[in-house]
């Protein structure tokens, strides 16, 4: 009797301990994941900020007017301090990481000093330009190294908690990719002595703008289905599912989707006026058969067939077997940047895989484009004389304040970079400067 009672008590104890242990284990895991996430966040942010820093410094090199340069320097100062904060949050206390921190604070000091002074009275000196250029080069190297480490971290699923454990339990240097990677970064920086991406104009989100201006006849569900059938290019409209958007949507939208084998189509269209806002077709892609250029012909034809008139190609990019094209509306030879449309083409058989016309519908209207007050030659004088201008034209862009302005657009090169520079055609203000992105080194390339 006593024995069996004892047995029950004991086994209850064992089960209880087991349960407690399991709970503890779960809690420990949750805390570990949380700590890991904090480190991951700081690290990826650091890589991103370094990239942004590099881009901003590069852009500042091509700037000419003080009104543009001062805010840009302030921005660099801000980003460098954020990057510095990121470094501070990483578990690198046992690593010699002070050189990178020093480098970041150097950038910070330099930009702060130059940003707060009146650049009209005291413009950047020759020496300061040289150090800015040097900083640009250094930022580029550090950025590349960090991206390298980041690639290794992502590819091999490296954990910061492991680094911390490794650092805590060993005294001697370890074979650890993260630690090694950071040592390389550190070495790079040691060699130096004292010394948003808001860029993509096309993927501008609708700040203070929305689709409200879309109007037109109300579409019935049946008409929407017919339209979808035509756009998806399928035989039977009963295969299409239709839903209507809820109250949170900017404008009433019909969402159509269908599934056929491994192919899936999706379309957002406005209830009023039945305009296609967003189209996506997903299917497995075969070997590339068409060139980017042939894909462009398909995209252009598709736009014409769907009543998008006077669209001109702005940018084309090839990703694996997909071509992505950005088109801009053109009015009397003036490119209208806000009215942009992206088209996605499969380069295996030339099918249209996607269209997004949200920006176009948000901004498109009949515009009265004035004649420029400045001549092209006058505007050219406003561009940084270091920049070699290769191409020019007229363009309507949205200024920092969100107003549409008529500008002269110049594409030019300075050292290894290509810049797009917009000079206000009325008063000569330097409205916007973009450093045009280069291809990124393929991290998975090589043996």
């Amino acid at each position: 009797m006593i024995r069996s009672i004892l047995l029950i008590i004991l086994s209850l104890g064992v089960i209880g301990t087991g349960y407690w242990g399991y709970k503890e284990h779960q809690e420990k895991n949750a805390v570990l994941i949380h700590a890991e996430n904090t480190y991951q966040r700081s690290f990826h942010e650091l890589a991103y900020h370094m990239d942004l820093l590099h881009d901003k410094i590069g852009t500042s090199l091509a700037m000419n007017s003080k009104t543009r340069l001062s805010p840009q320097l302030v921005d660099i100062w801000r980003i460098s301090s954020e990057a510095l904060a990121n470094v501070g949050q990483l578990p690198l206390t046992l690593l010699p990481f002070n050189k990178t921190e020093e480098f970041l604070s150097n950038i910070g000091d330099f930009t702060y000093r130059t940003a707060v002074r009146d650049l009209d009275k005291e413009p950047l000196s020759e020496d300061e330009m040289t150090s800015l250029k040097k900083l640009y080069k250094q930022a580029s190297e550090i950025k590349d190294e960090l991206r390298n480490v980041q690639y290794a971290v992502l590819e091999n699923d490296l954990r910061w908690m492991d680094v911390e454990l490794a650092l805590a339990t060993h005294d001697d240097p370890l074979d650890n990719t993260i630690i090694d990677g950071f040592k390389t970064v550190e070495k790079k920086v040691e060699g130096y002595s004292e010394s948003s991406t808001d860029s993509p104009l096309m993927t501008e989100t609708g700040k203070g703008q929305d689709l409200k201006q879309l109007s037109g006849k109300k579409t019935s569900e049946n008409e929407a289905l017919n339209y979808g059938k035509k756009l998806f290019d399928i035989k039977d409209k009963s295969d299409i599912q239709l839903t209507k958007s809820g109250e949170g949507s900017d404008i009433p939208i019909f969402t159509l989707s269908y599934e056929q084998g491994d192919k899936r189509g999706y379309l957002d269209m406005s209830v009023h006026g039945s305009h296609p806002i967003s189209l996506l077709v997903e299917r497995p892609l075969n070997k590339k058969q068409l060139s980017l250029n042939e894909g462009y012909e398909r995209a252009k034809k598709f736009l014409t067939n769907n009543d998008f008139k006077d669209m001109t190609l702005q940018q084309s990019t090839e990703y694996d077997q997909i071509g992505v094209y950005t088109f801009l509306y053109q009015q009397d030879n003036v490119k209208v940047y806000p009215d942009s449309i992206e088209v996605k083409v499969a380069l295996d058989d030339g099918d249209i895989l996607g269209l997004t016309a949200k920006n176009y519908y948000m901004h498109h209207k009949q515009r009265q484009i004035d004649t420029p007050a400045l001549s092209m030659a006058e505007a050219k004088k406003k561009v940084n004389p270091q920049v070699k201008i290769m191409d020019d034209g007229l363009a309507v862009i949205r200024s920092d304040l969100g107003d549409e302005v008529l500008t002269y657009e110049f594409i030019g090169t300075y050292e290894d970079d290509t810049y797009r520079i917009f000079i206000n055609a009325m008063d000569g203000t330097e409205e916007k400067i973009e450093r045009l992105q280069k291809a990124e080194r393929n991290f998975s390339h090589g043996t």
Partner: protein, 270 residues
Amino acid sequence: MVFRPLFYMLILGTIMFSSALFIPQYTKAFSPQVIQHGAVGDDVIELQARLQYLGFYNKQIDGVFGWSTYWALRNFQYEFGLNIDGLAGQTTKDKLVKASQYNEQDVKEKVRSGDKFTHYGKEGTKKDTNKQQQETTPSTPPTTPAVNVPNGFSQNDIKLLANAVHGEARGEPYEGQVAVAAVILNRVQSPTFPNTVSGVIFEPRAFTAVADGQIWLTPNDTSRRAVLDAINGWDPSGNALYYFNPDTATSPWIWTRPQIKRIGKHIFCK
């Protein structure tokens, strides 16, 4: 009788020998495609190598038609009296092939071994082969040394986003995955959320897949494509900042948000 086969062989041999003489000096010319800005691949490698041979292009031969290649090509077209359009069409390619030499095998070997070289010139062999730092990753099939990335994003940012999308929305319809990626990007733009992709993803308690570690599952190709679409401007969520699964959502607050639409298991809202 004995002489006959020998005789034929002699003739055959002569033919082969003489035809060998007439093989053009270049081993391969471009495919018939028109090469334009943004293109990637072998034709671009050949284009860059030939432009470099002629001294118009002095950057790395990376197989991606970027701005440097574009300006080099336009200069070439200018110098050779061609129509300056920055497109490598038939006429331009013919001129290039005529004016330059291209040893495909040699160039590709260099390109694939990860060598950086910027002097492919008349001197014959190329110099300045800085061995690039090798990755510690397993080798993949031959690719170009560089890839196109959307403005302002690195391959790593895309990978991180793909991880998040895979952890949050695998098994959802494709547009549902694009929508999840779009929500993350909308948050980056929004003043009430962190300003970086990493900040938004790792914001404490923002995404369940991050909290329970599912974000570290290996993402598939679909989630990567979904991320690219979202970055390139597709937003099936209708500018949403939140989404939730009505079957598992625990916070009553989320139901008070104005709903935009439902895709798969997720409801997207403002």
